[in-house]
C-alpha cells in the first residue's frame, strides 16, 4: 500500500478486508461459543452423573441396610415367638391335643372344623377363634388364637405356624391350605416351610428359607423363618415358623424415601433371577424374570458396583448395586435410574444454548461486518488519495478530522506531502541561484550541482583538466569531489574533520575561486553531507591590493597616493572614489594650516585661515584663527599693563615711607606698656607670699583642734569609769539591803517564838522589836545611798553628753580650718597663675615691640623695591613692542590709563593670589637679569601687600 505504483483496485481491496475481518471475528466467536458450549454440556452431564451416582449409591446402601435389618428382625421375631410362652404354651397344648384327641386322623378333623366349616371367606379365615367341633383343641385355640393373630398382625407377618416334631402343622394363623398338614410327607414336602422345619429340627437352631413358590399361597413366592421351641429341659417340642410379608421386604429395600421417577429398586439373586416383584411390570416377576449384567457380576465379586448398564426392562440405566446375605443365599439390592430421565436437565440446557447461539452469532456477524467496514472504507479512500498525490495531483488527504490512528495517519501523510512540495520549491530556487553550489553526501560523493556551478566548471574546464585530464563536468553527480578539492593545493584534505564552514581558495588558470565548505547535519546531529559554495574572486583581489597600498601610505602621512584601478562593482567603485577624495581634501587642508602657522611664528598675528570648510576641518581652521586673534589681544594687553605697573610702583614707594613713620610711633607706646606690666607682676608676687603665711597658720589651728579632740576622748573614758564604780557601789548597797531584809525576818521569827513563849518571852519580844527597828533603819540607809548613786549616775551621763558635744564642736572647727587652708592654697595657686599670665603679657609686649621695629625696617625696604620695579617695567614695554598687533587689541590700554591713579588699590587686591606665595619669594636675590624681571616685580608687589595686611590685622 505504501508503494504507489502497485495499483490495486480500491473496491476489491475494500470488500476483501471487510469480509476478512468480519469472517475472522465470526469464526473466532463460533469457536469460542462451541468450546464454551461443549465444556458446559460436559460439565452439566458430569455433574448430573455425579449427583445421580451419589444419590443412587446412598439409596442402595440404605436399601441394603433395610433388607439386612428386616431379615434380622424376622429372625429375632421368630426366635422370640419360639422362646416365649406366646409360642411355647400353645405348641405344647396344640401338639398334645393333636396326638390325644383326634386319634387316627387329627388332620382331617381340624381341616374340616377350621377350613371347610369356616364361616369366613378364604382371606379372612383367621377371624375364626373357635371351631364348632367342641373339641379340647378348639378350646385351646380359642385361648391362644387371638394372641398369636395379634402377634402376626402387629409384626406385619403373613402367617405364623406351629409345627410339632413330627412335622404336623398343628396351628396356623391364616388357616390356609397348609393348616393341619404334614410338612414331611404331606403336600408341603419340599416347600420352603418344609425345608426350614427340617433344618431347624436338625440343627436345633433358627433357619431361613430361600425364596420359593409356595403352593398354599396360590404358588406365590414365599419366605419363611423358623426357630425351634424347646422345653426347659431342652426337649424338642416343635418348630415355630413365620411366613414373611414380601411387600414389607420390598418396602425395606426401597427405604423410607420412596421412589423417584423412573427409578426402581429390586432384589436379585446370584443367579440373576429376581427375588422381588417389580410394581410397574404386570405379573409376578420374582423367580420368573432374570437380569444379567456385567455390573451385577462385578457387584457379587466386589460387594458393590456402580455404573451404566442395560436395565431390567432393556432400557439404558444408571444402577447402583450392593449385595446382602439372606439366609444361605447372597442377594443383590439393585437401584436403577433411567439415563434419559436423569440426564434430562443437561439435555435441556444444551438445547437452550443452541437456541441462543444462533441469534447471537448472527448479531456478532453483522457487528463485525459494520466495524470492519468503518475501518476499511477510510483506508481505501486514503489509499486512492495517496496514489493520486504520488502522481503529482494536488488534493486533500481524506479523514484528517478523525480522532483515531487513521486520522493520525492522514495528517502525517498531509505533512509528508507538504514537505515534499516545499523541498521541490527549494530545489528550483537553488537551480536558479547565481551562486555556484554543490552538495555531497557524507562520503564526499557529489549529489547535486546547480546551473551556476555547471557554468563555472565549463568555464574553467581547461584549467581543471590540466590537473585531471579525465574530469567531465557533465558526469560529476555520483563522482568524487576529490579532483576539485585537489586544486587548492591540499588545504582541505579530510572532509570529515570539518566542524564549521571553512574557506579555501582554488586557482583555476587566471581565476581565483573561493570554495566555502560547510558540513550538513541531520535532525539527530549526525553528519549527512557537505555544502560547497564557489565564488570567483580574481577582480576583488586586485582591488583589495591597491586599497591596501593607499591606506598604508595614508597611515604614514603620505596623502599624495591615489587608486588608479577601475571596478565594475558599484560599491568598490564608490569606495575607490571616496578614498581618493579623502586624500585630496586632507592634503589641501594641511598645506594651508602649515602656511598660517609659519606667519604667526614670524610675529604676524593678522593672518587668517579660510573658513569655507565643514566638520573638523572647519573646527581646526576656526581654532587656529582664534589662537591668532587671542595672541594679538594678549600682546596688546601686556603692553597696556606695563604702563599701569609703572604708575603703581610710584604709589607703593610713597605708602612705604608713611608706614615706617607710624611703626616708630607704635614702638614707643609699647615700651610704656611693658613697664606697667612689670609693676603689676611684682604686686601679684607679694600677694602670693601673704597667702602662704595664712596657709601655715591654718595648719597650726587644725593641729590644735585635733589635740582638743583627744582630750575630749579621755574625759569620756573617765566618765565611763565613774559609771562603773557607781554600779559597784549599787551592788554593795543591794547586799546591805538584803542583809537588812534577812535581819527583819530573823526578828519577826524571834517575835513569833517570843509570842509562843507567852509571858516568858515578853522580854525577848522587846529585843526582837528593837532588832526589827535596826534592820528597818539599815534598809532605809541603803535605799538613801542607792538614790544618791542613781543621782550621781545621771549627772555623769550629762557630763559625758556635754564632753561629746565639745568633741563634735572641735571636729567642726578642725574641718573649718582645713577649708580655710584649702581656700588659701587655691588663692596662692591663682596668684601664681596671675604671675605667669602677667609674665606672658610682658613677653608678648616685648615681642610686639620687636616686630614693630622689624616692620619699620621692612617699610623702608619696600620703598626701595618699588623703585626697582619701575625699571623692570620699562624693560617689559620694550619687549612687547616687537609684536605686530591689530589696532583693536591696543585700544583698551589707553582707556585704562585714564583711571589708573584712583584704581591702584583695587588692582593690588586682584593680585592676592600672588601675595600668598611662599616667603621664599622674598629671599630671591634683589638684582635679576632681564629674563627673570617679571618674577622679581611680582615679588616686590607681594611684599608690600603682605605688610599692608599685617598692619590692618594688628
Amino acid at each position: 500500500m505504501s508503494d504507489a505504483s502497485q495499483q490495486i483496485s480500491p473496491q476489491r481491496w475494500s470488500v476483501s478486508i471487510t469480509w476478512k475481518l468480519a469472517g475472522m471475528v465470526f469464526a473466532t466467536s463460533l469457536v469460542a461459543m462451541f468450546l464454551i458450549g461443549a465444556v458446559a454440556d460436559n460439565q452439566s452431564r458430569s455433574t448430573a452423573l455425579d449427583l445421580t451416582s451419589q444419590k443412587l449409591a446412598n439409596r442402595t446402601a440404605a436399601g441394603r441396610l433395610g433388607v439386612k435389618l428386616y431379615g434380622e428382625r424376622m429372625e429375632s421375631l421368630v426366635a422370640t415367638l419360639a422362646a416365649s410362652t406366646l409360642g411355647r404354651q400353645p405348641m405344647i397344648e396344640f401338639s398334645s391335643q393333636w396326638n390325644e384327641q383326634f386319634g387316627i386322623d387329627p388332620s382331617a378333623s381340624l381341616r374340616e372344623a377350621y377350613l371347610d366349616k369356616n364361616p369366613h371367606p378364604f382371606a379372612q379365615r383367621d377371624r375364626l377363634d373357635k371351631g364348632d367341633d367342641g373339641s379340647a383343641y378348639s378350646l385351646q385355640h380359642q385361648r391362644h388364637h387371638p394372641g398369636l393373630r395379634a402377634f402376626a398382625d402387629s409384626s406385619g407377618l403373613y402367617d405364623v405356624f406351629l409345627i410339632d416334631p413330627d412335622g404336623n402343622i398343628v396351628y396356623s394363623v391364616r388357616k390356609e391350605d397348609d393348616f393341619a398338614t404334614n410338612v414331611i410327607d404331606g403336600p408341603l414336602a419340599g416347600s420352603g416351610l418344609a425345608n426350614v422345619f427340617l433344618a431347624t429340627k436338625e440343627t436345633r437352631s433358627g433357619a431361613v428359607s430361600p425364596l420359593q413358590t409356595y403352593g398354599p399361597s396360590e404358588d406365590a413366592p414365599a419366605l419363611f423363618f423358623a426357630a425351634p421351641i424347646l422345653a426347659d429341659n431342652e426337649t424338642f417340642l416343635g418348630v415355630a415358623a413365620i411366613h414373611v410379608s414380601r411387600e414389607k421386604l420390598q418396602a425395606a429395600a426401597e427405604g423410607q424415601a420412596g421412589t423417584v421417577e423412573a427409578s426402581r429398586t429390586y432384589l436379585v439373586g446370584a443367579d440373576g433371577i429376581l427375588r422381588s416383584d417389580i410394581a410397574e411390570i404386570d405379573g409376578e416377576d420374582a423367580l420368573s424374570r432374570s437380569w444379567q449384567s456385567p455390573l451385577l457380576q462385578q457387584a457379587f465379586a466386589e460387594g458393590r458396583a456402580l455404573g451404566e448398564t442395560v436395565g431390567i426392562t432393556g432400557e439404558p440405566v444408571f444402577a447402583a448395586i450392593e449385595t446382602v446375605t439372606w439366609g444361605a443365599e447372597e442377594w443383590a439390592v439393585v437401584t436403577q435410574w433411567e439415563v434419559d430421565v436423569f440426564m434430562a436437565p443437561a439435555r435441556e440446557m444444551r438445547e437452550l444454548m443452541l437456541l441462543f447461539a444462533a441469534p447471537v452469532l448472527a448479531i456478532i456477524l453483522s457487528l463485525a461486518w459494520l466495524v470492519s467496514r468503518s475501518f476499511s472504507r477510510p483506508i481505501a479512500s486514503m489509499s486512492g488519495a495517496v496514489a493520486r498525490l504520488a502522481a503529482g495531483e494536488l488534493l486533500e488527504v481524506p479523514g484528517q478530522k478523525r480522532n483515531d490512528e487513521l486520522g493520525g495517519l492522514a495528517r502525517a501523510l498531509t505533512k509528508i506531502n507538504d514537505m515534499a512540495m516545499r523541498n521541490g520549491q527549494i530545489r528550483r530556487a537553488l537551480d536558479g541561484a547565481e551562486q555556484a553550489l554543490l552538495l555531497t553526501d557524507a562520503d564526499g560523493k557529489v549529489t547535486y550541482l546547480n546551473t551556476a556551478m555547471c557554468g563555472l566548471l565549463h568555464r574553467s574546464l581547461a584549467a581543471i583538466q590540466a590537473h585531471d585530464p579525465h574530469f567531465d563536468p557533465d558526469n560529476l553527480i555520483g563522482g568524487s569531489l576529490a579532483p576539485l578539492l585537489a586544486l587548492d593545493g591540499g588545504t582541505i584534505v579530510e572532509l570529515a574533520t570539518i566542524a564549521k564552514p571553512e574557506n579555501t581558495v582554488v586557482t583555476l588558470g587566471d581565476h581565483a575561486i573561493r570554495a566555502t565548505v560547510s558540513p550538513l547535519f541531520d535532525g539527530n546531529g549526525i553528519r549527512s553531507g557537505y555544502h560547497i559554495e564557489w565564488l570567483d574572486i580574481s577582480d576583488q583581489l586586485a582591488i583589495e591590493k591597491q586599497i591596501d597600498d593607499v591606506i598604508g601610505a595614508v597611515a604614514t602621512g603620505d596623502f599624495s597616493r591615489r587608486i588608479s584601478v577601475e571596478s565594475d562593482q558599484p560599491f568598490v567603485a564608490n569606495l575607490i572614489r571616496g578614498l581618493n577624495s579623502i586624500s585630496e581634501v586632507i592634503d589641501d587642508f594641511l598645506t594651508e594650516l602649515r602656511k598660517t602657522l609659519e606667519t604667526m611664528s614670524a610675529g604676524d598675528t593678522t593672518q587668517r585661515m579660510s573658513t569655507g570648510r565643514t566638520g573638523r576641518f572647519l573646527e581646526v581652521a576656526e581654532a587656529t584663527n582664534s589662537t591668532m586673534a587671542q595672541t594679538g589681544t594678549l600682546v596688546g594687553r601686556i603692553k597696556t599693563s606695563s604702563h599701569e605697573i609703572e604708575t603703581a610702583a610710584g604709589g607703593i614707594a610713597a605708602g612705604a615711607s608713611d608706614l615706617s613713620a607710624r611703626a616708630e610711633n607704635q614702638a614707643s607706646s609699647l615700651q610704656q606698656t611693658a613697664a606697667t606690666m612689670e609693676q603689676l607682676a611684682a604686686n601679684v608676687r607679694s600677694n602670693a607670699a601673704n597667702i602662704e603665711e595664712v596657709n601655715a597658720l591654718a595648719e597650726q589651728s587644725s593641729r590644735a583642734a585635733e589635740n582638743g579632740q583627744s582630750v575630749v576622748t579621755n574625759a569620756v573614758n573617765a566618765m565611763t569609769r565613774i559609771e562603773d564604780s557607781a554600779a559597784k557601789v549599787s551592788e554593795i548597797v543591794a547586799v546591805i539591803d538584803s542583809i537588812a531584809f534577812q535581819t527583819n525576818l530573823l526578828a519577826l521569827n524571834a517575835a513569833v517564838e517570843a509570842a509562843r513563849a507567852g509571858d516568858a518571852g515578853k522580854g525577848f519580844a522587846v529585843v526582837a522589836s528593837e532588832v526589827r527597828t535596826l534592820a528597818q533603819r539599815s534598809a532605809d540607809a541603803a535605799r538613801d545611798i542607792n538614790d544618791l548613786i542613781q543621782q550621781s549616775g545621771g549627772e555623769v551621763a550629762d557630763g559625758v553628753r556635754l564632753v561629746r558635744s565639745t568633741g563634735t564642736s572641735l571636729e567642726e572647727i578642725a574641718t573649718g580650718i582645713t577649708k580655710v587652708a584649702a581656700t588659701a592654697a587655691q588663692i596662692a595657686a591663682s596668684g601664681r597663675e596671675q604671675t605667669n599670665g602677667i609674665e606672658d603679657i610682658a613677653a608678648a609686649v616685648n615681642k610686639l615691640d620687636e616686630i614693630t621695629q622689624q616692620n619699620s625696617a621692612l617699610a623702608d625696604k619696600s620703598a626701595g623695591e618699588a623703585a626697582a620695579l619701575s625699571t623692570q617695567v620699562e624693560a617689559l614695554t620694550a619687549l612687547t613692542a616687537t609684536f605686530k598687533v591689530d589696532d583693536r587689541d591696543a585700544a583698551p590700554v589707553a582707556k585704562r590709563e585714564v583711571d589708573l591713579d584712583t584704581d591702584w588699590q583695587d588692582f593690588a587686591s586682584k593680585r592676592v593670589a600672588v601675595s600668598k606665595t611662599d616667603p621664599a619669594t622674598m629671599a630671591l636675590p634683589k638684582s635679576q637679569t632681564s629674563p627673570a624681571a617679571h618674577a622679581t616685580a611680582g615679588a616686590a608687589l607681594a611684599t608690600v601687600e603682605d605688610d599692608h595686611e599685617d598692619w590692618s590685622e594688628f
Binding site: 538584803s738 531584809f741 534577812q742 527583819n744 525576818l745 519577826l748 521569827n749 517575835a751 513569833v752 509570842a755 509562843r756 528597818q776 534598809a779
Partner: protein, 162 residues
C-alpha cells in the same frame, strides 16, 4: 516594809482584858493577819518543787528541815493572778491543826496586839466564800486588817488526806 501599820490602843486591850497577837502581811496593798500562835516560821522565798495535779494556787512543796510543806499562793487563792516571786517575797509557814502549810505573800508587815472586843464581824453582804475565808476585821489607824481563816482556806484537802 511599812511600819506602824497597826497601833491598837492600850485602853482597848485593858478594857477587855483579853488580847491576841497577830502577824500582819501584805498581798498587793491589802493587809491580812493571822494569829501568831499558828505561825511556825517566816521564810524568805526560795524555789519550790512543782507537783502535778495540784490546785492552781499551789506553788509546789518546800523541804523545811526534813518536813515536806506545801506552799500556797495567797493572791491566787483569793482569785488574783499567780504571784511572780522574787528576793523580797516571803513564805509564812503556819500550822493548821496537825498540818504545816506555807503561804506565799508579798511582804510581812508587823506583829500587832489586838483586844478581843476590837474584832468586828464580816459584813453580811459578802459572799459565802469571803465570809468563810475571813474570820473578822480589825480597824487600825490606817488600814482595815482582814483576819484570815486559815483552816477554811487551806485545811480542807488536809482533812481529806488525814
Amino acid at each position: 516594809m511599812t511600819e506602824n501599820l497597826v497601833e491598837i490602843s492600850d485602853d482597848a486591850i485593858e478594857a477587855t482584858g483579853k488580847t491576841k497577837q497577830y502577824v500582819t502581811f501584805l498581798v498587793g496593798d491589802r493587809v491580812y493577819a493571822v494569829d501568831i500562835v499558828m505561825v511556825r516560821e517566816i521564810k524568805q522565798w526560795s524555789a519550790t518543787t512543782g507537783l502535778p495535779n495540784q490546785p492552781s494556787y499551789t506553788r509546789g512543796v518546800l523541804n523545811l528541815r526534813g518536813t515536806i510543806v506545801p506552799v500556797h499562793d495567797l493572791r491566787a487563792r483569793f482569785g488574783g493572778p499567780l504571784t511572780e516571786p522574787g528576793e523580797t517575797h516571803v513564805v509564812v509557814i503556819v500550822n493548821i491543826g496537825e498540818q504545816t502549810v506555807g503561804v506565799l505573800v508579798d511582804a510581812v508587815s508587823d506583829i500587832v496586839t489586838v483586844a478581843a472586843g476590837e474584832i468586828r464581824p464580816v459584813p453580811a453582804t459578802a459572799s459565802e466564800l469571803d465570809s468563810s475565808a475571813i474570820s473578822g476585821l480589825v480597824n487600825t489607824n490606817d488600814h482595815m486588817v482582814a483576819l484570815i481563816n486559815l483552816p477554811a482556806l487551806f485545811a480542807v484537802p488536809a482533812e481529806a488526806t488525814a
